[in-house]
C-alpha cells in the first residue's frame, strides 16, 4: 500500500510542477497577474508531496518490504538499521528520487522565504525550477520507477554492495546531493533573471545566500567523500581523479567562481553576463557529472548500472536544460550589458583573476574527464590520471593563491598597488622563508609539494591580514567567513602537499610476532583472529604500534567478507596524532603463513579534511551573517510599514 501511495504522490507532485510551470509562464504575460498568488503555494505543495513520496520509499526500506523490486534488489532483512536507511539512496532509482525531492523542497523553500527578489523574477525562477524538476519527474516515472512491485515478493533481499555498507553512506550522498541539486536554484535564478532582464546587484544579493547554502553542502560532501574513499578503499589515497570525484569537483569550482563573481555584481554592478552564465554552468556541471557517472559512459566505481536507455533519457534532459539555458543566455546576453568598469588594480580585477583561474581548473578537469571518451572515438583506450591532473591543476592553483594574498586587501573599483605593498610583504616573506628552509633541509623534495607548502604558509598568514586594523567586534560575519574559508584553503593545501612530500609506505609480509618500521612507528603483528559482525565475518590483525619508542597503541585492521551479496572489503585501521596519521591495512595470507600488511605514515594528512571543514565553516559564517542581516532588514521594514499604517488611520 505504501508503495502505491508513494507513487501516487510522486505523480501528483509532477502534476503540480506542470501547473507551477504554466501558472508561472502565464503570470508573466500581460494580463496574467491574477495567477501570481498561486505560484508560491504551488511550489510549496509540490515540495511537500515529493518529500512525502521520498518518505514512503524510506519506510519501505526500513520495513524491508520485499514485494518492492528496488528493496528486494538492494536491501536485506539482516542489514543493520542505518544501512537499511542509507540503502534507500544507495541505488539508482532511490538516489534519483532523492534528487527530485531536494529539488522540490528547494523550490518550495525559495517560495516560502525569498523576499528580496523582484516579484516577476521570482515567478520566472519558480517556473524555471518547475521546468527543470519536470524532466527529472518524467525520468523517474517513465524510466526508473522506484516503487515498482515484483510479481511475487522475494524471499530475501539481495543486499547492498559491501563497499557501500559504511556509515559514510548515510551522510555523504545526502550532503552532496543537497549541494548538487541546491545549485538548481542558482540555475533557476539565472533563467528567471534572463527572462525578466533583471540581472543587477539586487538579483545578485538575492541569489548569493542560495548559492552559498548549496556550496557549503557541496564542500562538506566532497570533503567527507574524500575521507570516505581514503579509509574505505584501503589504498591510502584521498583523491583519485575518478570521474565521479571530478563530477563533484566541477560544480564546486563553478559555484566557487559564482560566489566570487556574484559579490562583484552585488557590490559594483559589474560582470553581469558572466555571473548569470556561471549560475547556468554550476548546475549544468551537476547534471553533466550525474549523467557521466550514471549512464555508464565513463567507467567509475560509482556507476550503479550501465543502462543506455537511461543514459539517453538523461542526455535528452541535458540537451533541453543546458542547451536551452545557454541559448537563452546567448539571446539575452546582448541586452545584459557588462556594467560598471574597473581598474587593473582593484578588488574586481583580483576576483576576475580568481574566476579565470577557477574556470581554468574546471576546464582542465572537464577535458581530463572526457579525454578517454574522445580518444575512444578514434579507437584508442586511454585513462587519464594524476600525472595529468596534478601538475596541470597546479599551474592554475598556485597563481590563484598568490592573488589571494592581495585580493581581499584591495579596494573596489580602483586601488594603488603601493597601498597594499606592506601587508602583502608579510605573507610573501613567510612563503619565501618556508621555501628557503625546505630547499635547504629537503633538497630531494619534488617541486610541486615544495611550492605547495610555501604557498600554504603564505596564504595562512595572508588570509588573516584583512582583520588587522579592524574593529573585530564590528567586522561583519561575512568578512570572518572569507577569512576562515581562505585559511581553510591554506590548511588543506598544507595537508595535500605534506602528504605528497613526506608520506612513507611499507608493504611487508609479516609473521605473527614480528614487527615492521614505517616512518617513526614500530608496528608489531601480535595476532590474527576471526571476528563476526551482524552481516559479515572478518579476519582481524591485532597490531601494536609505538611512535618513536613511546607507549604502544592497538590497531585492528580487518579484511571483511560479506555474505549477501558476496563481497569483500578491507577495513583499514587508523591512528591519528597531532602531526599525522598512521594507516594500516591487512592484506592476504602469503603462501608461507605470513600476512601481508600495508602500512603508511602520513604526516599532517588530516589537515586536508580539516581544511575542507574550515572552508565550509567559512561559508556557514558568511551565510549566517547575510541571513541575520536580511531578517533584521525585513523586521525593520515591516515595523515601518506597521507605523505608517497606524499613522494613516
Amino acid at each position: 500500500m505504501i508503495a502505491e501511495i508513494g507513487l501516487a504522490m510522486l505523480w501528483m507532485a509532477a502534476a503540480l510542477a506542470l501547473l507551477q510551470l504554466f501558472a508561472g509562464a502565464l503570470a508573466l504575460r500581460p494580463g496574467g497577474t491574477a495567477l501570481i498568488p498561486v505560484v508560491r503555494p504551488l511550489a510549496m505543495m509540490q515540495g511537500l508531496l515529493v518529500a512525502a513520496a521520498f518518505a514512503s520509499l524510506i519506510t519501505l526500506f526500513l520495513t524491508t518490504d520485499l514485494s518492492v523490486k528496488l528493496v528486494a534488489e538492494n536491501s536485506h532483512s539482516l542489514k543493520p538499521f542505518i544501512f537499511k536507511l542509507a540503502g534507500t539512496w544507495g541505488n539508482h532509482e532511490g538516489s534519483m528520487l532523492m534528487w527530485v525531492t531536494i529539488m522540490g523542497l528547494g523550490g518550495g523553500f525559495v517560495a516560502l522565504v525569498e523576499r528580496r527578489l523582484r516579484e516577476d523574477t521570482l515567478i520566472a525562477t519558480l517556473a524555471g525550477q518547475a521546468f527543470v524538476s519536470l524532466g527529472f519527474y518524467a525520468f523517474l516515472l517513465l524510466a526508473s520507477n522506484p516503487f515498482a512491485r515484483l510479481p511475487e515478493p522475494a524471499p530475501e533481499g539481495q543486499g547492498l554492495n559491501p563497499l557501500l555498507q559504511d556509515v559514510g553512506l548515510a551522510f555523504h550522498p545526502p550532503t552532496l546531493y543537497v549541494g548538487y541539486v541546491g545549485l538548481s536554484i542558482a540555475f533557476s535564478f539565472a533563467i528567471g533573471a534572463l527572462v525578466t532582464r533583471d540581472v543587477g546587484p539586487a538579483f545578485a544579493r538575492a541569489m548569493r545566500p542560495w548559492v552559498l547554502g548549496a556550496w557549503i553542502f557541496l564542500t562538506l560532501g566532497i570533503t567527507a567523500g574524500s575521507y570516505w574513499a581514503y579509509y574505505t578503499l584501503g589504498w591510502g589515497g584521498w583523491w583519485f581523479w575518478d570521474p565521479v570525484e571530478n563530477a563533484s569537483l566541477m560544480p564546486w569550482l563553478a559555484a566557487t567562481a559564482l560566489l566570487h563573481s556574484a559579490s562583484v555584481l552585488a557590490a559594483r554592478n559589474a560582470l553581469r553576463a558572466w555571473t548569470v552564465m556561471l549560475g547556468v554552468v554550476a548546475f549544468s556541471m551537476s547534471m553533466i557529472g550525474t549523467f557521466l557517472v550514471r549512464s555508464g559512459i565513463l567507467t567509475s566505481v560509482h556507476a550503479f548500472a550501465v543502462d543506455p536507455t537511461r543514459g539517453s533519457f538523461i542526455l535528452s534532459l541535458l540537451a533541453i536544460y543546458i542547451g536551452g539555458a545557454l541559448a537563452l543566455f546567448a539571446l539575452r546576453a546582448s541586452t545584459v550589458t557588462e556594467g560598471a568598469r574597473f581598474a587593473p588594480v582593484s578588488r574586481e580585477a583580483a576576483l576576475v583573476f580568481n574566476n579565470v583561474m577557477l574556470c581554468g581548473i574546471l576546464g582542465i578537469v572537464l577535458v581530463g574527464t572526457l579525454y578517454p571518451l574522445l580518444t575512444e572515438a578514434f579507437g584508442q583506450k586511454v585513462s587519464v590520471g594524476p600525472p595529468y591532473f596534478n601538475p596541470v591543476a597546479a599551474i592554475f592553483v598556485l597563481p590563484m593563491i598568490v592573488v589571494m594574498f592581495v585580493g581581499p586587501l584591495l579596494r573596489w573599483r580602483e586601488d594603488k598597488a603601493a597601498r597594499v605593498t606592506a601587508p602583502v610583504a608579510i605573507p610573501a616573506v613567510v612563503a619565501a622563508f618556508v621555501l628557503f628552509v625546505l630547499v635547504l633541509a629537503e633538497p630531494q623534495m619534488k617541486l610541486l609539494p615544495t611550492l605547495g607548502l610555501g604557498a600554504a604558509a603564505g596564504l595562512a598568514v595572508a588570509s588573516v591580514i584583512p582583520l588587522f586594523g579592524r574593529n573585530l567586534r564590528r567586522t561583519p560575519l561575512p568578512t570572518y567567513g572569507m577569512v576562515v574559508a581562505h585559511f581553510g584553503i591554506a590548511v588543506a593545501l598544507a595537508g595535500i602537499a605534506s602528504d605528497s612530500a613526506f608520506s612513507t609506505e611499507k608493504l611487508a609480509a609479516v609473521n605473527v610476532g614480528d614487527s615492521q618500521q614505517v616512518g617513526p612507528w614500530t608496528i608489531a603483528l601480535t595476532g590474527i583472529e576471526p571476528i563476526a559482525g551482524q552481516n559479515w565475518t572478518a579476519l582481524q590483525a591485532n597490531l601494536s604500534a609505538s611512535y618513536a619508542g613511546g607507549a604502544p597503541v592497538a590497531l585492528q585492521p580487518q579484511a571483511r567478507s560479506f555474505s549477501s551479496p558476496p563481497g569483500q572489503r578491507t577495513e583499514s585501521a587508523l591512528k591519528t596524532r597531532w602531526n599525522g596519521q598512521l594507516y594500516t591495512v591487512l592484506g592476504e595470507e602469503a603462501e608461507d603463513g605470513r600476512w601481508q600488511l600495508r602500512l603508511w605514515w602520513k604526516p599532517f594528512v588530516p589537515l586536508i579534511w580539516l581544511g575542507g571543514a574550515l572552508v565550509a565553516l567559512g561559508g556557514a559564517l558568511s551565510l549566517l551573517g547575510r541571513v541575520i542581516r536580511d531578517v533584521t532588514r525585513l523586521r525593520a521594514e515591516s515595523k515601518i510599514a506597521w507605523r505608517r499604517e497606524r499613522q494613516g488611520r
Binding site: A273, G323, R341, A377, K381
Partner: protein
C-alpha cells in the same frame, strides 16, 4: 584587468558556451550509441587455441589439454579462480548453461587444489574438466587478462567469442546463441 569590451555589444562570443556544449553533446552521443563492443575484442577470435596440457586443478576432475577441444563439439572455456568474487557470482549462470547441456571446461588461475575444491563445494561444479594454470601462462596465451572470462570454442578448437567479466543472467541466452553459431 579592465574589461575593454565593457561597452561593446557582445558579439559571437555569447554563443561560445552553447557551441562548447554542442561539442560535448556530440561526443557523448557517440559514446552512448556506439556499438556495444565496449570490451577489448580479442585479437584471438578466429584463431585456434594455443597448445597446452594442464594438470588437474582438483582431485575429482581431470586436467585439461587442447586436444579435448578438437572433438567436433563446441564448448565453453571458463577462466576462473577460487579467490575471485565475480567468479562465485557467475556460478548460477554457469550451472544454468550446464543444465542446458553445454559442456564447460575450466582453467583455474594461480590456485591451490584445496581452495578449488572448497570453491566448487560452495558454488557448485559445472565443469567437465579443470586445468590448473599456476603462472597464468595459458591464460595470457589465449588472450585473457582477468578472471572471470569465458570463451566459446568451436568443434575444431577455434576461439569464436570471448566474454570478459562475469556472465550475468541476461547474458545466458546470448552465450547459448554464440555456441549455436559455433556449432554450425
Amino acid at each position: 584587468m579592465s574589461e575593454p569590451e565593457a561597452k561593446k555589444r557582445p558579439g559571437l562570443a555569447v554563443w561560445l558556451p552553447l557551441a562548447l556544449f554542442a561539442g560535448f553533446f556530440v561526443l557523448v552521443m557517440f559514446g552512448l550509441f556506439r556499438p556495444a563492443n565496449r570490451e577489448v575484442s580479442s585479437a584471438m577470435i578466429g584463431k585456434p587455441l594455443p597448445a597446452f596440457d594442464l594438470r588437474p586443478a582438483t582431485t575429482d576432475k581431470p586436467g585439461l589439454a587442447v586436444a579435448k577441444f578438437q572433438d567436433g563439439k563446441p564448448k565453453l572455456l571458463n577462466i576462473f579462480a577460487s579467490w575471485c568474487i565475480p567468479c562465485a557470482v557467475e556460478s548460477p549462470q554457469l550451472a544454468a548453461l550446464a543444465a542446458q547441456g553445454v559442456e564447460i571446461d575450466g582453467i583455474a588461475i594461480r590456485d591451490r587444489p584445496a581452495d578449488v575444491a572448497r570453491f566448487l563445494a560452495t558454488n557448485g561444479n559445472p565443469f567437465a574438466a579443470i586445468g590448473a594454470d599456476d603462472l597464468s601462462s595459458v591464460q595470457l596465451a589465449i588472450g585473457s587478462s582477468g578472471v572471470p572470462e569465458t570463451f566459446v570454442i568451436d568443434g575444431k578448437g577455434i576461439i569464436r567469442y570471448q566474454h570478459i567479466g562475469d556472465i550475468r543472467a541476461e547474458d545466458v541466452s546470448m552465450i547459448l546463441g554464440k555456441l549455436k553459431d559455433a556449432g554450425s
